[in-house]
């Protein structure tokens, strides 16, 4: 079995949003929507330090679909449009999505984005990989772990474009992979671990 996963080194992340842009470009994500974005933790303002001088810190948290092993979104989807695929990714079959947005209410991470209108692209012709399916108004979308790339053994675009190599992509079912080693050996942080969704995306320092 394969369990594709993403590890993010929070010590290395500089909050440049290159992952967000790379993802948007690769996947033809419409304006007003992002599949991954980098939050400045604990702050209402981007790139702002938190705390009281001199005890300040500034932490970045890149946030996209966590590709959970126990995905709340998949469980509630009435038509099975959201599914867990054989590579361990949480994917959406756009042809099955009826736009009820139950998954959006169920996801604890707020990482799903809905096509409230026909998506706006700038330039209008769209962009990105030609094999990425077109999404129209009324369907849900989110990080696919760059299905069109990872199907062919390539890395997701956010991993490729990260300038500080903060992102590690790999197979958690392969005990010898770098990502498995990181999960074993490093201090790992799981987002909202108490919710029991068991994300395959994890953070480490």
């Amino acid at each position: 079995m394969t369990k594709l996963a993403l590890a993010i080194n929070q010590k290395r992340c500089i909050g440049c949003q290159a992952c967000a842009e790379a993802c948007k470009m690769e996947n033809n994500v419409g304006m007003g929507m992002l599949w991954t974005r980098t939050l400045t933790e604990g702050s209402d303002v981007m790139d702002a330090a938190v705390g009281e001088f001199p005890n300040l810190r500034m932490d970045y948290l890149p946030l996209g679909c966590q590709h959970c092993e126990n995905p709340a979104c998949q469980k509630v989807c009435p038509t099975g449009a959201t599914y867990k695929d054989e590579m361990g990714r949480v994917e959406i079959d756009y042809d099955k999505c009826i736009g009820c947005r139950m998954c959006m209410a169920a996801c604890p991470y707020n990482v799903r984005v809905f096509n409230w209108t026909e998506p706006v692209h700038d330039p209008e012709t769209g962009y990105g990989d030609a094999t990425v399916p077109v999404r129209h108004k009324g369907v849900m979308e989110k990080c696919t772990l760059c299905k069109q790339r990872t199907d062919n053994g390539q890395k997701p675009m956010c991993v490729v474009c990260c300038p500080t190599h903060a992102r590690v992509f790999g197979d958690l079912d392969d005990p010898n992979s770098e990502i498995s080693r990181l999960k074993r050996e490093r201090t790992v942080r799981i987002l909202l671990e108490e919710m029991g969704t068991e994300p395959q995306v994890f953070y480490f320092v």
Binding site: G30, M31, G32, M33, L34, R37, L39, T40, E41, G42, S43, D44, V45, M46, D47, A48, L61, L63, A72, K75, V76, C77, P78, T79, G80, A81, D95, K96, C97, I98, G99, C100, R101, M102, M104, A105, A106, C107, P108, Y109, N110, R112, V113, F114, N115, W116, T117, E118, P119, V120, K137, G138, V139, L191, L192, M195, G196, T197
Partner: protein, 399 residues
């Protein structure tokens, strides 16, 4: 023929509102759900709010009508038919509100070809369909006077009615991601269905009494009002239990609680507690008030409004603070991009737009219209029949 019943003018008004609603719905189908006030932060809005309300409102009718048979409450029998009409209409309104909320209604057949039986939404589709069928059968058999079938159906109808509200509650109550996640959600939904449903039934019965379709005696009025007071108390008790459980640890759900007590959803919360539970309970707890029609109307209207407010605070409180917080927050989505300006939101906000409100008004108007037509045809007709043509059975059968 007598000129009893709802007037053509009243029906015309609601018919016109329905047409406006349909026009807005077409507008929404063309533009997408972006014409509503919903966004990626607050992904459910007025439609789902009103859906919850109307599922609850449909409870009163069927529960009162089936109680007449299941518990042998004879005095409820005369009002059984208008009660079931109300119940049928309300569940249809609820169903339509779900349909207008769907972004991809053209793919709705996928529910049949590839159902995911783990989804509470699918459970709800199933149970609402069963509930609707039971309502229609009940009405048809009552109309034909097949009392034995009606009696037998009541034994199925009552548990299904309880399930409809529980399953609707589970759409929310099973979501660990939100403040909705609590075991008391189903009991709360059943309780508020009972009080708001009975309150609406009382309003409906007093209305058809007023237009002269069917009479509502003082004794029956008083006993329904007393029952309503009891239901209000049960509802208040469950809400109290949930509030204490949220507040006591002083952690976890404290953020949601603070939005309810003093934040964005506070006006709705406090209206429900004071206007929707306390005041109507006090009114109806005084025995003399239960035969004063004005007092019963006031209390019933307050209960329905109170439960409407409850749906609002219940739904939206959970959309305000994201679990994973931080700047720049959540991107609003394609609709936000179309409007231009800042697409980012740190906390969830929501206000319904005009088309959204008009669609809801249209759907409800269609329900009111259906209630009027059915009451005129089924209830008023019967009255006339009983008064005029008791001797000749052939006429009755031909009708």
């Amino acid at each position: 023929m007598q000129t009893k019943g709802f007037s053509k003018v009243a029906m015309g008004v609601f018919g016109a509102l329905t047409l406006v609603g349909i026009a807005c719905w077409i507008f929404q189908l063309i533009g997408g759900l972006g014409v509503t006030g919903m966004s990626n932060t607050t992904s459910w809005g007025l439609y789902i709010c009103m859906f919850m309300l109307f599922v609850g409102l449909s409870a009163g009718g069927l529960i009162v009508a089936s109680s007449a048979h299941v518990f042998g409450i004879e005095k409820f029998k005369p009002i059984a038919k208008p009660a079931v009409i109300m119940s049928t209409v309300c569940i249809c309104v609820a169903g339509m509100l779900i349909l207008v909320d769907l972004g991809g209604i053209q793919r709705i057949w996928r529910l049949v070809t590839g159902p995911n039986f783990m989804s509470p939404l699918l459970w709800d589709v199933c149970i609402i369909t069963i509930y609707l069928v039971i309502n229609i059968l009940d009405l048809v058999w009552m109309q034909k006077g097949e009392n034995d079938k009606v009696r037998k159906l009541s034994y199925v109808a009552l548990p299904v009615a309880i399930l409809v509200h529980s399953v609707t509650a589970w759409i929310f109550g099973l979501q660990i991601a939100r403040a909705w996640y609590t075991a008391i959600m189903a009991p709360i939904f059943v309780a508020s269905a009972l009080d708001s449903g009975l309150a609406l039934l009382l309003l409906g019965l007093l209305l058809i009494d007023k237009v002269g379709i069917a009479e509502l005696g003082d004794e029956l009025l008083a006993s329904l009002a007393k029952l309503l007071a009891t239901f209000i108390a049960v509802d208040a008790f469950f809400i109290g239990c949930e509030l204490l459980t949220m507040a006591y640890p002083g952690a976890g759900e404290a953020a949601a609680l603070s939005h309810m007590l003093s934040g964005a959803t506070a006006p709705f919360f406090w209206f429900e507690i004071i206007g929707g539970l306390l005041v109507p309970f006090v009114i109806l707890a005084i025995a003399n008030n239960r035969t004063k029609r004005g007092m019963v109307v006031l209390a019933s209207a307050l209960v329905v409004l109170g439960v409407a407010c409850k749906r609002i605070w219940l739904l939206f409180t959970s959309f305000i603070t994201p679990n994973v917080a931080g700047a720049p927050g959540i991107a609003g989505g394609s609709a936000a991009a179309r409007e231009g300006g800042d697409i980012w939101a740190i906390i969830g906000t929501y206000a319904p737009t005009l088309p959204e409100i008009l669609i809801v008004v249209g759907v409800i108007s269609l329900g009111v219209l259906a209630f009027m037509v059915l009451c005129n045809k089924l209830v008023a007709g019967e009255e006339v029949e009983q008064q005029v043509s008791l001797p000749s059975e052939e006429v009755a059968q031909a009708a």
